[in-house]
Amino acid sequence: MKNSDKTVNIFLSGVGGQGTILASNILAEVFIKAGYDVKKAEVHGMAQRGGDVTTHFRFGKKVYSPLIKYGDVDFLLSFELLEALRYINWVKPEGKIIINKQKIFPPAVNLGQVKYPEDVEKIFKKYFKDNVWVVDGQGIARSLGNVQAANVVLVGAFSNFFPEINPEQFVEAIKSLLAPKLHDLNVKAFYEGRKAL
């Protein structure tokens, strides 16, 4: 896709501790270096305590609102299936969905009071047809030796949607945000993720 002057809306969702904030920080570094105006808004504070975490990420020539307008999401990048489904109504009809295959049960499911939604992938495909990609972030990260890198696997997969950006720019951003000892693993995770779509 061509991202000319139009503002692009990316909605990230996941569960506290999954590394969604690092993922959005990587995107911010990349798009600001690419010369775009960027706005990013997240609600945290109780995120460490297992609540849901969302980030509104927008880039373009000039971005006003830090929040994406409901129904205007171009890309839903989700790190957990239920947290993807929760925001399905936010996506434009022609929007693209990239979902990590992981399930993390919320308390009410753990307590056996309600069921975890089934067939999340199918529901998305029903509405968005071929614009849905499911990535096994944990599986790929585990094969690299550390399941923690699943977030960067997802960023790698997502990077395919921005052909105008050289993957090296993502790598540079990853390196600028992580301690040197984590560089090797995460750069590998990025490229493996990039191959996953």
Binding site: V38, K40, G50, R86, Y127
Partner: protein, 603 residues
């Protein structure tokens, strides 16, 4: 020109540094906490402290300002209620070095106990207030706040809110410029700073003169910006509300107010003449609307369509102003049908067994503000009030005075360590002084938890991690006159219940303090070292599926459906399961299980 992407709070810290600020004080509170943390971590030229509470923070900052340096205090909206006492009079005395007070509002109460609109403090206190919309403005407005403060001899309020404080956008970095005011204290200035009636009357007039001059200044203030486009509609707005409106109605004309108090009346009147219809878009109270209507200006839309509660967003503004013409996006899945994911106490948290014990005791628990407020959530449901920091202690005392001896054994106040020092010491003194008999439990987990681990006078470390004195809560209680002071190990449920029961029944003030129960996320305290085993598992030979262990709401424990029998033949509908990656071995579930079905795990 160096450009960086920054959070609003980080940009305020950067702006303070660039403005030559020398002293910064704060008490943590979402969404303001990162300001002081950022200063402490990145700007050694600024003295930075976590103050005991917001009132102290404003006093520290204003003392520095009176001594001639640029100084600031930062806090959340409700923090300004605590700090209001010094603030209201600082408006009279003025300062010498620039003084800025950051107040971070929380529309939609993402993490607060109320949704008050801090702009009212500016009007009430006769203090100028600036409101940035993004990170660049956070930095620019911070710098200009100090200029205004010094030019008009007044403290200046900088109002942010969640979507400004916690949003990131590009910021152009500049160098630090030291203030040219010579620091020092001059006793001859006493009439300006001693607010006894004879001096107050003089300063009272100065306040009115200041506000008049500030209103003139507002009319030419470079961040009160008129954008004339399509003149059929003119929007008056500020901060993030302006950004939302601009996003959905880019074609309209705007008057964006960078200074939200005092209002630039001349400019507003001029704008009203240039456009056909006026719309006022503001979050929370009809603050601009009331003032602008009082000017005799006709409004097309304001709070008649824009909600006066919760936060705004692009679609809320669009829907409000388009009315029936707004097209609702398609509902594919009803979000209310999906399981919620509320926050929970961490696995191993010391508050979990404490609230379980309080629930078993059937106590009415006067609560406070912190992670432990989560003790109110089901299935624990063992915290029954949350008003403000320190409130629970005075309230428990008042309730016991109201009910009399019948309340013995039934009422307790719980309060965190940081919160106790913030606002709990004076009410405890009150309990002793007034011959009360309430019980106070200090849930000392060695850190300010909920806001992200800030130091406080009880932790033994300063904001910059230098070792310092740590308040001894028992000694403090003793000095206040409490005779019955006990420690509890909350992880020992039976003993905890016995001690609390005993103390609640005593006809005298009691103080109970956690012993060795640090926050699970506080690495330096090695919180899991005290536990005997790294994790526990459910022995399915013994588990009868009674669900008792689910009553503690531990995130590591879940229900697994499936009919079966125990080894000794008891039928069950399922068993519980412990996630070993989450379990830290706190043994709380072990004590709750009546069938010895939870046993140490082996790797």
């Amino acid at each position: 020109m160096k450009k960086e992407i920054m959070q609003g709070n980080a940009a305020i810290a950067r702006g303070a540094w660039e403005a030559g600020v020398k002293v910064a004080a704060a008490y943590p509170g979402t969404p303001s906490s990162e300001i002081l943390r950022d200063i402490a971590e990145n700007y050694p030229e600024i003295y930075a402290e976590w103050s005991t509470n917001e009132k102290v923070a404003v006093e520290v900052a204003s003392g520095a300002a009176i001594a001639g340096v640029r100084a600031m205090a930062s806090m959340k909206h409700v923090g300004l209620n605590v700090a209001a006492d010094p603030l209201m009079t600082l408006s009279y005395t003025g300062i010498k070095g620039g003084l800025m007070i950051v107040v971070a509002d929380d529309p939609n109460v993402h993490s607060s106990q109320n949704e008050q609109d801090s702009r009212n403090w500016a009007r009430f206190g006769k203090i100028p207030m600036l409101e940035p919309a993004d990170a660049q403005e956070c930095k620019d407005f911070t710098k200009i706040a100090f200029e205004i403060s010094e030019q008009f001899d007044t403290p200046v309020l900088l109002r942010t809110e969640t979507r400004v404080a916690h949003s990131d956008s590009p910021v152009v970095l500049e160098d630090r410029v030291e203030s040219n005011i010579v620091p020092g204290l001059d006793p001859k200035d006493a009439p300006k700073y001693v607010m006894v009636p004879i001096n107050v009357r003089v300063r009272r007039k100065a306040v009115e003169e200041k506000m008049k001059k500030l209103e003139e200044y507002a009319n030419t203030f470079k961040y009160n910006i008129m954008e004339i486009n399509d003149t059929s509609v003119g929007v008056i707005s500020s901060g993030v509300s302006y950004l939302y409106t601009k996003e959905v109605f880019p074609e309209w004309s705007y008057l964006k107010l960078g200074m939200v108090w005092p209002l630039p009346k001349k400019m507003i009147a001029e704008f009203a003449k240039k456009v056909k219809k006026i719309v006022i878009v503001e979050e929370l109270d009809p603050f601009f609307e009331t003032e602008i209507k009082a000017m005799g200006i006709k409004i097309w839309h304001g709070k008649d369509v824009i909600p006066n509660m919760y936060e705004l967003s692009p679609e809320i503004v669009e829907k409000a102003l388009k009315g029936k013409k707004y097209k609702e996006p398609k509902i594919r899945v009803k979000p209310e049908d999906l399981p919620r994911r509320p926050p929970n106490l961490c696995a191993g948290c010391s508050h979990r067994p404490l609230f379980y014990a309080l629930k078993k005791l059937g106590a009415f628990v006067f609560g406070d503000i912190g992670c432990y407020t989560l003790g109110t959530a089901p299935p624990l449901q063992a915290l029954h009030t949350t008003i403000c920091m320190g409130a629970g202690i005075g309230q428990a005392h008042g309730a016991m005075k109201a009910i009399g001896k019948d309340a013995l054994g039934k009422v307790v106040a719980v309060i965190g360590d940081s919160t106790f020092l913030h606002g709990g010491v004076t009410p405890l003194m009150d309990v002793v002084y007034n011959k009360g008999n309430s019980t106070t439990i200090v849930l000392d987990n060695r850190i300010t938890g909920m806001t992200g681990h800030q130091e406080h006078p009880g932790t033994g470390f300063t904001a910059r991690q230098e070792p310092t004195n740590a308040v001894d809560y028992a000694e403090l209680g003793k000095a206040l006159g409490v005779k019955s002071i006990r420690y509890i190990d909350p992880y020992n449920i039976k003993e905890t219940m016995e001690i609390i029961k005993e103390e609640m029944n005593k006809d005298e003030p009691s103080l109970i303090i956690y012993k060795n129960a640090p926050c699970m996320l506080l690495r330096r305290a090695k919180p899991t070292e005290r536990f005997k085993h790294p994790f526990y598992v459910v022995d399915t030979d013994k588990c009868r599926g009674c669900r008792m262990c689910l009553e503690i709401n531990c995130p590591a424990i879940s229900w697994q459906e499936g009919e079966g029998t125990t080894k000794d033949g008891h039928k069950r509908k399922g068993t519980t399961y412990i996630n070993r990656d989450q379990c830290v071995g706190c043994e709380v579930c072990v004590q709750v299980c009546k069938f010895d079905a939870i046993v140490p795990g082996t790797k």
